[in-house]
């Protein structure tokens, strides 16, 4: 179900979001970009607790804003952190980063 961005430049992932929460979306996406930085730092120090917590939060929040892929990736990060699987964690952090670069919001 996770839709990730093909590395080819110009690819976009369209996400349809409820217009009711239009004002909240930019802040949400900005926070996810901060999360990527936090996750990378946590990976460097093998801080699984932080990674698990961030993954859990993304899992809970993503779909509510219309970004179901973020929910999926958050869940995967949470699970990988619980299993202390650094390889998996790195993979999902990369996926998240690429996703955030490719996502384009259309309000409905």
């Amino acid at each position: 179900m996770t839709q990730t961005c093909d590395p080819n430049p110009g690819d976009k992932i369209i996400v349809h979001v409820d217009t009711d929460i239009k004002e909240l979306v930019p802040g949400f996406l900005k926070s996810r970009q901060k999360d990527v930085k936090s996750l990378l730092a946590a990976v460097e120090r093998s801080d699984y607790e932080t990674i698990e917590a961030l993954g859990h939060t993304m899992k809970g929040d993503g779909g509510g804003y219309g970004f179901h892929a973020i929910t999926d990736m958050g869940g995967s990060l949470e699970k990988a952190a619980a299993n202390k699987n650094l390889q998996e964690i790195r993979k999902w952090v990369k996926q998240l980063s690429v996703y955030l670069e490719c996502v384009e919001v259309v309000y409905k």
Binding site: D18, D20, I21, L24, G27, F28, S31, H56, T57, K59, G60, D61, G62, G63, G64, Y65, H68, T71
Partner: protein, 213 residues
């Protein structure tokens, strides 16, 4: 009716607020931690009374004090016990939910939140709270009326049953065991008053020369 939303994720707080506000629920309070929630509810040491809240939406996974423990502590406070608490959580484990219900939660909603589900469950919970409040108000009224009635009954003076009366002097033995004049007894036990006169037999007896009128 007011709703308190407790979640350590600012984004989720904003989202739930937005969904509920556009759904017509305007009286919303937020708390980013159990400590903030306790403050709103007057459960902290500040001495404040807290605000009246009709429903609490509670995240389970929070740092320091989690949602389950927060729920349990709220339910320990008598004046807050009847506030319905709905857990809003990405935690899918059955054990956690069982613990939440054991702590006093009445329902749960999965994260990520679906706006229709959220508004429907909130609506049902608030309706239930309203009905509980109405029932409590009726019970209080009934209790008050019963107390007033009992008091009134105590004050009602009625003569009933067997009355111990002296066959000679006609004194009556009262509840305390003392013999008292019949007038005194009747005055104490009824609303009657006396107007004194003399009967024809007593006029003849005590005033032999006087003709009864």
């Amino acid at each position: 009716m007011s709703i308190l939303i407790v979640d350590d994720s600012t984004e989720n707080l904003l989202l739930l607020q937005s969904i509920l506000q556009t759904g017509g629920y305007k009286d919303l309070l937020t708390a980013e931690s159990a400590a903030q929630a306790f403050k709103h509810l007057g459960m902290d040491d500040s001495g404040g009374d807290g605000v009246d809240v009709d429903l609490i939406l509670m995240d389970i996974q929070m740092p320091d004090i989690n949602g389950i423990e927060t729920c349990r502590r709220i339910k320990e406070v008598e004046r807050l016990r009847d506030i319905p608490i709905i857990m809003v959580t990405a935690v899918a484990q059955r054990e956690k939910l069982q613990l939440a219900f054991a702590a006093g939660a009445m329902d749960y909603i999965n994260k990520p939140v679906n706006k229709i589900e959220l508004r429907t469950r909130v609506g049902s919970a608030l309706k239930l709270k309203q009905e509980m409040d109405n029932r409590k108000a009726r019970e209080q009224e009934l209790k008050k009326r019963t107390q007033e009635l009992e008091q009134a009954l105590k004050e009602v003076k009625v003569l009933r049953g067997f009355i111990p009366i002296c066959a000679s002097c006609k004194k009556i033995r009262n509840d305390r065991g003392y013999w008292q004049l019949v007038e005194a007894y009747i005055r104490e036990h009824s609303e009657a008053e006396f107007s004194h006169g003399i009967c024809p037999d007593c006029i003849k007896k005590f005033f032999p020369g006087v003709e009864p009128g």
